[in-house]
Amino acid sequence: MAVVTPLKTAAEQQLSQQFAQAKATLPGAGAVARLRDEAFAGFEARGLPNRRLESWRYTDLRSMLREAMPPAQAGERPQAIADRLALQTISGPRLVLIDGWFSAADSDLQGLPEGVTVRSLSEALAQAPDAFAAAFDLPEIARDDSALMLNAAFASDGVLIEVAPGVALAQPLLILSLGSGAREAAIVSRSRVVVGAGAKVAVVEVHESLGPSPTQNNQALAFSVADGAEVQHVRIVTRQRAETVQVQSLIVEIGKEANFASVALAVNCGVLRQQSFVRYAGEHSNAALRGINLLSRREHCDVTLVMDHAAAHGESRELFKTIAEGEGTGVFQGKVIVRPHSQKTDGGMKSHALLLNEGATMYNKPELEIFADDVVCGHGATVAQMDSEQLFYLMARGLPRPVAESLVLAAFVGEVTEFVGDESVREIIGREIDAWLAQRGAAPKSGAA
């Protein structure tokens, strides 16, 4: 067989030019600059993620990105941003990113308890690049991902949060990531949360786009969860332009006897890849990734996750619910790896989808790679239509079809919402779901818009 050297696409060529230009101004000298160079070299060798890679099979960025949008500049602040910020709906401290840039002026750090420090990535790297190079650490399972390489190469800003051992936050910490949408731009941010031993924290990231222009987002949030710590993570991606293409990465390393639980909601999400890499570094820990994807029009949501049980007695749970209508496409790829010494691992993975019409699509791909012999691991994946018997039963009691459908659909995804601990966050998720259901109830039956 001949060796195939793929030609660079226009977008890949633009990225090379952009990196050459941006290098000098990206924050972080020394170790970080070397790390960016290495990451970009790795990206150039691989190119944009594409369908030839098993892990990117259903989200071919190489063909989706006709061109690479220029890096977003700091300082865009249209009125829409101020309007949105006035609608603070989650109580507690908030960190605001605008086009991936930390905005100290818009952030509210009052109420942060002692023992919690927050820095912007760009500032931290400018001051002490070697000290904060750890922000770019990746577990082995994520090191080959060229989207994360691009992220490391271009990440201009983000937030670094440290929670000292034993500190418990009473309120969730909100990372509000707003796209100004002022012009087409690439938004690349890297954030990291270091949770000390025995600390307890909830982090909520909300991604919304406020302007007319689509963007290309590549944003990563990493958690380092020390022994005995407890973390709840929520991610909401909503109000995106249809042409926006984004990768949201979640990277988690957990120590022993620790808990990490995540719930993600994607609605009006454009083209979205949500990828998670979770590594169990200590025994007796558990992690749960759950999510709801509500897809209309030609929206695309790819949930790809890897749970790496590198320590014994770990528990993992995944539960994803997808509803797709119109020409919406859902993807679930879940891989659970159990390393040879990771005995007594308990893994359970589920992905359930409802397709509301013929144009909608769901790909489910659970994978188990088990190298230990004393483990319990299971997975279940279903794709179905709405249950017509249930609908008839509800309609026979007088509920009009849209109301009956909304009830059945809300119940279908409600199983996931219950895992959100904070009530105000749960309410916001509930409102997003209700709004989506109401909008589909009001829309013409064809679903195409």
Binding site: S388, Q390, M395, L399, A404, L407, A410, A411
Partner: protein, 250 residues
């Protein structure tokens, strides 16, 4: 009043014809029983009246108080006064029973141009009706029919019937899966709703239910038609002689 004239129905995606020119009238205040062997079309009849979509009506009409309901969706028929107590009530995970009851009652009120129920009034009505049927409060807090026993599901159907106050009640094999105590509770619940303005169509295999819900008329159904009509004694006669003579006659 329910009038069914020359109803011919087949399963939508198949050639199988189930109802073959069925005629039936149930007057206001009347309790009519339909008995018949398996496969005679009894459950199909109840589904077609309630508006299930899996069937195609080839001929005939169904009039409720003089209005043809065949073109209506199931929810509109419910608002017009049709109530079907299901043989197998559906489990709806994730939907709290109280939420469902309130949505159903308000949907029908809205369809009739009435104001929504206030929550305290709603709760009072539900509790009163539940107490009569021996339905524990805890059951009302659970998701609709999920994990309910057969008897609990049937009681929940009667509760809905009591709250929605329909003018035409269809009971599809309400006795199936019930022990004798549960049967008595359900029958008492139905009897309490008997009213000169309300008709009942009670579908059953066995005479047993009709000891508790005593019918005014008994119809024998076979091969998609009513083949014999009589008084309540007809049920006793059937219990003795079986359906054989009627299925042959049909």
């Amino acid at each position: 009043m329910l009038e069914i004239r020359n109803l011919v129905v087949k399963i939508a995606d198949e050639d199988k014809q189930i109802l073959n020119g069925l005629n039936l009238t149930v007057n206001d205040g009347e309790v009519a029983a339909i008995m018949g062997p398996n496969g005679s079309g009894k459950s199909t009849l109840s589904y077609v009246i309630a508006g299930k979509e899996d069937y195609e009506v080839l001929d005939g009409e169904i009039l409720l108080n003089g209005e043809n309901i065949l073109e209506m969706e199931a929810d509109a028929r419910a608002a017009a006064g049709v109530f079907l107590a299901f043989q197998y009530p559906l489990e709806i995970p994730g939907v709290a029973t109280m939420t469902f009851l309130k949505a159903a009652m308000n949907a029908q009120r809205k369809a009739r141009g009435e104001a929504e129920l206030l929550t305290p009034d709603f709760i009072r009505q539900v509790n009163a009706a539940a107490d009569k049927l021996g339905i524990a409060r805890d059951m009302l807090r659970r998701p609709l029919n999920v994990g309910f026993s057969g008897g609990e599901k049937k009681r929940m159907e009667i509760l809905q019937m009591a709250l929605l106050a329909p003018s035409m009640c269809i009971l599809d094999e309400t006795d199936s899966g019930l022990d004798i105590d549960a049967l008595r509770i359900v029958a008492d619940g139905v009897n309490a709703l008997r009213d000169k303005n309300r008709g009942f169509l009670v579908i059953t295999h066995y005479q047993r239910l009709l000891d508790h819900i005593v019918p005014d008329t008994v119809h024998v159904m076979s091969k998609g038609r009513i083949v014999k009509t009589g008084g309540k004694d007809l049920a006793l006669e059937l219990e003795k002689s079986g359906y054989a003579s009627y299925t042959e006659a049909a």
